[in-house]
Amino acid sequence: MDLNYSQDESAFRDEVRGWLNANLPKDLRDKVANYQELGREDLLRWHKILAKKGWIAPAWPKEFGGTGWNVVQRYIFEEELGYVGSPPLIPFGLSMCGPVLLRFGTDAQKKRFLPRIYNGDDFWCQGYSEPGSGSDLASLKTKAERKGDHYIVNGQKIWTTLGHCADWIFCLVRTDSSMAKRQEGISFLLIDMKTPGITVRPLILMDGGHEVNEVFFDNVKVPAENLVYEEGKGWTVAKYLLGHERMGTGRIGASKRELAKLKAFAAAQTGDDGRPLTEDPRFRDKLTRVEVELMALEITNLRFLDQMRRTNQPPGADVSMLKIKGTEIQQTLSELMMHAVDPGGNGSFTGLAKRYCNMRKTTIYAGSNEIQRNIISKMTLGL
């Protein structure tokens, strides 16, 4: 048993960290550190810097620009991105549509879309959830009717993250509503957001931020060549995507950065007795508990990674565990940050409180933590 990274892995980490520190623009780093909203141009600027370096899509096959890194190197890279405070790499193109096209796309689709995803020419968003179909995704109703060489799409998507920035949306739509099983008759369509009939309406979150949207489809004409895989087999595609979740789900790097920030911040705040807040035993215990929780999650993550490397098996329900614990830690860190502020002292209570509000999303999105428990219950425990 050896919990340490190998010399090569440590050297790789140093290389990644050095490069990120030297190449992440200061204004973007500041925006992330101050929890400011990042726009389309911010996100694409950083995307293009990484694409130029050849590091934007490590998991893709080499011929499409992948790095050929193993799972541990990919994990280290993701952790370092989080730790340096990089803007998020928007997953919809890189980790969702890209892998789907690589697995199910026609040669023409691959040629048309993959280079543009890689280079950050197209900004993608995801059209899965609907007002009546959240966790119960297979109940979706948005309809696509085949008319000659087109589909006519009618319906509504919701929670469309960064839909207002997007050039393209990949959608699950119902192409056949006569099937007895709800998972059948669903198809996977690629839709140009500039197509007439699409309306994007912002959904402003409680912190005032604009991240998510409703997207309405009113007789939207989509060329049939934009169908991915077979008509009616969209659920197979969707399931493949779910299994494609990355080992970076626990957000260890970002949480390490937030923890260091919280410690420094709390040390600079005074408690009621005039001593630094970090010396208040009641606050201190909460701080230590979240640090220990993060240590445990990191080692758990490495254990799964080590197993994956050895067995060559996808992580399966283990990712659900990382999601549950990782998001709980992110929420606790944001909550402690808010609690640490001296309301009359330095630091903005409102800013940190807004961050706290915003982080409540983490246990809801990407399969709520209750859905993750259902997955573990079914897949791992056989209940």
């Binding site: 048993m1 190998s6 035993p281 215990d285 508990r289 758990t300 254990r303 565990m321 428990r373 209940l383």
Partner: protein, 367 residues
């Protein structure tokens, strides 16, 4: 990076598991617990034969030179089977001798421990000291060529069975360690909540032999307690695994309202949280055992062990409490093993410092 046991470690863990499954089942253990001594000569002899009593001692003394990681699989198996033999107590006493003793003392004691001929205990805790390792009132004074100790030690694990007891006491130069003959100490034996044997040890001008440098015992004691803490973290993981497995089995078989209760989502999610807690605990036990074996310095070791013990203590509570709740009334009875596992997990959460103690220690090391 590698989280697996090596081949030797795995083979040993498997053979210990097989032995305990065969000779240390719930019914067999019940008989041992109910016996006058509270441990089994026969089991101890087999453990020695299997090399378990020699595992962490140097080859020079007949041992195998292993560390905490080598003991992990053994301790997991012990946690699963709820071993009540004075194993941990003997390992602790032996490690104190190995760390502090003179060559002659090591030669006199360790080969006998390795061979299963000598059982040890460590008498350290006193009334009012709680988990503070530096707080000792027992006093030692020179008497001729040797020493005499006077003091009261409490909850000394394995004391009733111990042939020799390592005792801490203060001299003019500070905290020191001594070896006392088991028969020379007055031991008031009792059964602990988790059905192990312990005792309060009374010493009144009791003849003793100095172990290690006078006044320099605290760092040695801290190291050995950290080592023992790492071992009970691994033991906890074994006990937690049993608690999770048996509860899952119960959810699948127990029927109410015409269906297995495991079909209820309220229970499924609680079961999942138990398993998540188990995985987190296992990770921290790996950390504790590795850091016990390999660390930059004492602070690095202590920090990792305290972090592990915080998590293990919290998760011992979580998993033990939930395992009883999900079993319902049956979980409350002595008849099910899970209620005995509950008791061991409850004790591990406190042993060598509860979560609060280690939270304070972790914070004090973070400066």
């Amino acid at each position: 990076m590698n989280f697996d046991y090596n081949e030797e470690q795995q083979l040993l863990a498997d053979s210990v598991r097989r032995f305990l499954a065969k000779d240390y089942g719930f019914e067999a253990r019940k008989k041992i617990v109910a016996s006058k001594e509270g441990w089994s000569d026969k089991v101890w002899a087999t453990m020695a034969e299997m090399g378990l009593t020699g595992l962490p001692f140097s080859t020079e003394h007949g041992g195998f030179g292993g560390g905490a990681v080598d003991l992990m699989g053994v301790m997991e198996a012990a946690g699963d089977a709820l071993l009540v033999e004075p194993y941990l107590a003997t390992l602790m006493g032996g490690r104190l001798v190995a760390r502090a003793g003179s060559d002659a003392q090591k030669k006199a004691i360790l080969p006998a421990v390795v061979g299963g001929k000598l059982k040890l205990a460590f008498a350290h805790a006193e009334k009012g000291a709680r988990y503070n390792l530096a707080k000792v009132s027992a006093k030692a004074k020179k008497a001729g060529a040797g020493w005499e100790i006077t003091g009261e030690k409490v909850v000394v694990l394995g004391a009733p069975a111990a042939d020799k007891i390592v005792v801490s006491a203060n001299t003019d130069k500070g905290l020191s360690l001594f070896i006392v003959d088991g028969k020379a100490a007055k031991v008031k034996p009792y059964v602990t909540l988790d059905e192990q044997r312990a005792g309060d040890v009374s010493l009144s001008n009791t003849k003793a032999e100095l172990l290690g440098a006078e006044g320099k015992a605290l760092p040695v004691i801290e190291e050995v307690i950290d080592f023992a803490t790492a071992l009970i973290c691994a033991e906890a993981v074994g006990a937690m695994k049993f608690a999770c497995d048996t509860t899952l089995e119960y959810l699948k078989t127990r029927k109410q309202f015409g269906v297995p209760i495991g079909t209820f989502q309220a229970l499924q999610h609680r079961m999942v949280d138990m398993v998540v807690a188990y995985e987190q605990a296992r990770s921290m036990a790996c950390l504790a055992c590795s850091k016990s074996d390999t660390h930059a310095d004492a602070k690095d070791r202590a920090r990792a062990i305290s972090a592990a013990k915080i998590k293990i203590a919290d998760n011992c509570r979580h998993i033990s409490q939930e395992s009883i709740q999900l079993h319902g009334g049956m979980g409350m009875t002595e008849e099910l093993k899970v209620s005995h596992t509950f008791r061991r997990l409850t004790m591990i959460a406190q042993q060598f410092g509860d979560a609060e103690h280690h939270l304070a220690r972790f914070a004090s090391l973070d400066k």
